[in-house]
Symmetry: C2
Subunit: 134 residues, 2 copies
Amino acid sequence: MIGNLNHVAIAVPDLEAAAAQYRDTLGAKVNPPQAEPDHGVTVVFIELPNTKIELLHPLGNDSPIQGFLDKNPSGGIHHICYEVEDILAARDTLIASGARVLGTGEPKIGAHGKPVLFLHPKDFTGTLVELEQV
Amino acid sequence: MIGNLNHVAIAVPDLEAAAAQYRDTLGAKVNPPQAEPDHGVTVVFIELPNTKIELLHPLGNDSPIQGFLDKNPSGGIHHICYEVEDILAARDTLIASGARVLGTGEPKIGAHGKPVLFLHPKDFTGTLVELEQV
């Protein structure tokens, strides 16, 4: 059911410093920051040959990652995203297995313009998992 | 300098339950557990089309991930691993940038039989980063 690891999302307290570290020290291909006001984040995409790293920084007063940064002031890995072909089929299989889907259970349009869902971390090895339909 | 994301390592309190979830619910290709006594872990490799997930569980009395599980009883993402072509050159560049390398600073042979180093999470967006020479 799951396909590629689409990205690893890392919440960071200083977006420019983190982007500079990946660009200048690690020599990665780092894209310019993108404001995603609908998701309460500014995102920097880092392109690795086989997947992406997404640096996330809070945008606005109601960012979903502010609480994470309050608990993890140095930043940290916020979630991982797996690709699926059919997000509704994936959701139904997961719910049938006892896993909880966050929010209403209906997919939303994610930062890449594609339907996404998040699974409850307690049901997935303590890991916040995003599913993205590709 | 960095190449592929080699793997995402997730520490889990119940290796069989986590492996079953990836295999049966998510439909991923899950390999049998491998004991790595030199690293104090039992590892289950999950093969995604573009990278790997490594489920880690403590092995023996002095496992480096026991403390992580004590703090995160449901499990969680423990580290991410980037591939590099020349680990000594990568290390020297990182140290010159002010990043700290864990341990002696000399590469060890990792769970894949290749030289690895770990970087201090405080110097990398709160994320434990492993570098593996490929």
